[in-house]
């Protein structure tokens, strides 16, 4: 936030102005009956020669319904998530909203200025220095050259790349490039931002900065439409989210329900595959999360040494005897660091078909500071249900020991 300290004054003015304008304001984004089809010819000709050689060739084609009858309203200042599996149409939707693809039916209305990019670092040129790229990129975003020059220092400071401003971009690491791209992108002077999958980049501390920027944009009353697979960031940022599958809206709801629906869609897809025998169909894991004792609030960040509760939400579809529950913590190297299991604490008892339970494991958090993912699993008489990486937990600490766990210990030096 420091980098923007002298911007925040104008920003809060603007936020106030926006709030005043909010009363009775139209939605920031209105999508009404949007449909988009792609034609997939049976036989496609890519050259004039082929076209000329096959003048009577069939011009039949199949239509791929990439989007069908999508209608949504996004209020001003809302952080709206769009989630769905690969090929579900979410990126096509974003491109239609951005005016990069033309819609076949329906209309899109946007109040205020729309950010022109849907991805970071568009137009970056590897042969040019960071300085030139920042100025060019800012102009492409819609700033004037003068504005771009005055904001240049903030951009570089935010990206923490002061020493490398005159280095050509081709010599940058991918992480540095992304930092630079993000730093320029948050300078955009738009009311509605379209963002395709950007948060999955950068190290943990830079991601934190990005999140802070999203909070700032939100507090300024800007509207963000955000396409992602990452349910943790949907739950963390979005006010509302939309689940889209095969070009149709499945649901528009609060982030928690959307992320569990998304998981069900994915889980359903898996269940039709070869993992049927494995999951057995006796029980499903709907969700997993962390919290602190005495609070229902889900957390994705936790201070080392405090007590932590990891929970999983399970739906039984058949009557089950003595299932075994577990939650596996993996660090960002994908090493299994900690497994909390119920079978070490004795039998769990009998569960009826249709019953839904939350299983919680409470533990003192002595994990080393890092980003962990939670994978809940459930074993019933030889078959296993598992949901990989349903939640994330960032463990913070004052010190780093270098190990993977930091249990409390005493030090004693004895002379012999």
């Amino acid at each position: 936030m420091l980098a923007f300290s002298h911007l925040t004054a104008t920003a809060s003015d603007r936020a106030a102005e926006r709030t005043r304008a909010l009363a009775g304001a139209p939605p920031a984004v209105l999508v009404d009956g949007l449909s988009k089809r792609f034609r997939l010819p049976h036989q496609q000709y890519h050259t004039l020669k082929e076209r000329a050689l096959h003048p009577f060739a069939s011009r039949r084609y199949e239509e791929l319904h990439a989007l069908e009858d999508i209608s949504i309203e996004v209020a001003r200042g809302e952080f709206f998530g769009i989630v769905g599996r690969n090929g579900s149409g979410k990126s096509t939707l974003l491109k239609c909203l951005a005016g990069i693809y033309s819609a076949d039916q329906g209309r899109v209305e946007v109040s205020g200025r729309l950010s022109p990019f849907i991805e970071l670092g568009v137009g970056f040129h590897p042969e040019m220095t960071a300085r030139e790229n920042v100025i060019n990129n800012a102009i492409m975003l819609g700033l004037t050259r003068k504005q771009a020059r005055t904001r240049f220092d903030q951009v570089i400071e935010f990206a923490e790349l002061e020493e490398f401003v005159d280095l050509r971009l081709k010599n940058y690491s991918s992480g540095m490039t992304v930092r630079l791209a993000f730093a320029v992108a948050v300078q955009v002077d738009a009311d509605v931002l379209l963002v395709d999958e950007v948060l999955a980049v950068g190290d943990a501390s830079f991601q934190q900065k990005c999140f802070d920027q999203f909070e700032r944009l939100k507090s300024e009353g800007r509207t963000i439409l955000f396409v992602t697979h990452d349910m943790a960031s949907v739950r963390r940022f979005c006010d509302r989210a939309m689940l889209i599958d095969r070009g149709r809206i499945v649901d528009v709801s609060d982030p928690a329900s959307i992320s569990s629906e998304y998981r069900e869609i994915n889980f359903g897809a898996v269940a039709h595959g070869d993992q049927v025998a494995e999951s057995g169909g006796q029980a499903r894991i709907l969700d997993g999360w962390c919290s602190e004792p005495g609070s229902d609030e889900r957390i994705d960040e936790h201070m080392q040494g405090r007590r932590c509760i990891a929970s999983m939400d399970v739906q039984f579809d058949e009557a089950v005897e003595d299932p075994s529950f577990a939650i596996t913590f993996r660090n960002n190297m994908r090493h299994t660091i900690f497994v909390a299991r119920s079978d070490t604490h004795g039998p769990t008892g009998h569960f009826e078909a249709g019953e839904r339970v939350v299983v919680s494991f409470a533990f003192d958090n002595w994990l080393a500071p890092s980003r962990y993912t939670l994978t809940p699993s459930l074993a019933v008489a030889g078959s296993v249900a598992r949901e990989d990486d349903v939640a994330e937990l960032e463990v913070t600490a004052a010190h780093r020991s270098g190990g993977v766990i930091d249990p409390p210990y005493e030090v004693e030096v004895t002379r012999t």
């Binding site: 139209p26 020669k49 209305e109 009311d191």
Partner: protein, 279 residues
């Protein structure tokens, strides 16, 4: 503020848009970026930009003046040869660079909302920068060869404008078609070769038999080069108005220029909504 926040329809992709300042800023930025990267990337950048026309000029100069003694009858033939080569290179860079421009900028077109026409126009602008650089070399060479400035040199911007209109028209037309048909590029290369030999670059128009001369002036490039010879190099040489006979015949080459431009504009605007998805 409230005016800014009124809901507005987001249409599909557009060719020009209604924000001229942004259109120009983008065109300028893309063109200068290309220009910088190509010619200021290395220490000898400017020299490299001259190497291509100068090398070809050197070869042709030796072949036509020393080996087959062809240019003897033409006043300041070397200057004419260099100037027409530079003009043809400008034309070719805009048109041929334009053909592949949309496909080369695929990433931008699929990830960003901006007026599509920026892409071929930025290619033309980069070529115009190059022309400016090359004209410095032509000027030095002309002065050294004893061709001195005259008021009629002021016709040069008009000739460049005619050339630009034709080249930009072709760039719009071919870039939009190239997205659909990938053999447009080799086809255009052949056409460009034909134009190179079919236009009075290596020779001058007055060498051509009379009845051919009139027919060749249907080619806009021939009109531009013939007038250039009269206006810049040798006032004794026939102007295009003298060469073409009845001046009403000038409507043919000018009609081609305007026709190609309008056709290019129409095709490009028609293809605009689907460029990003057909790439």
């Amino acid at each position: 503020m409230s005016g800014r926040l009124r809901p507005a329809n987001v249409g599909g992709p557009f060719a020009f848009g209604d924000d001229f300042r942004r259109f120009w800023a983008l065109t300028w930025t893309l063109a200068t970026t290309d220009f910088k990267v190509r010619f200021f990337g290395s220490a000898l950048g400017y020299l490299w930009s001259l190497v291509r026309p100068l090398l070809l000029f050197g070869v042709l100069f030796i072949v036509f003046t020393k080996v087959i003694r062809f240019g003897g009858g033409v006043e300041h033939y070397p200057v004419y040869l260099l100037f027409s080569l530079v003009l043809f290179f400008y034309f070719a860079e805009t048109a041929a660079g334009g053909v592949v421009s949309l496909v080369n900028r695929e990433n931008l077109l699929r990830k960003m909302r901006f007026p599509r026409m920026v892409i071929p126009l930025s290619v033309a602008l980069t070529a115009l920068f190059n022309l400016g650089m090359n004209l410095i070399a032509v000027l030095v060479f002309a002065l050294a060869s004893g061709v001195y400035p005259r008021w009629s040199w002021l016709q040069v911007p008009i000739l460049v404008a005619v050339l630009t209109t034709l080249a930009v028209g072709l760039a719009m037309l071919l870039s939009a078609l190239y997205v659909r048909y990938r053999d447009i590029s080799p086809i255009w290369e052949v056409v460009q070769q034909l134009l190179f030999y079919g236009s009075p670059i290596l020779y001058v128009l007055s060498f051509v038999p009379d009845n051919f001369e009139k027919a060749m002036l249907a080619n806009p490039l021939a009109v531009v080069l013939t007038q250039m010879r009269h206006a810049v190099i040798d006032p004794e040489a026939p102007s295009v108005f003298e060469a073409i006979g009845p001046n009403v015949r000038l409507l043919i080459p000018m009609g081609i220029v305007v026709g190609v431009f309008l056709l290019g504009l129409w095709v490009f605007k028609r293809e605009t909504p689907r460029i990003a998805e057909n790439l």
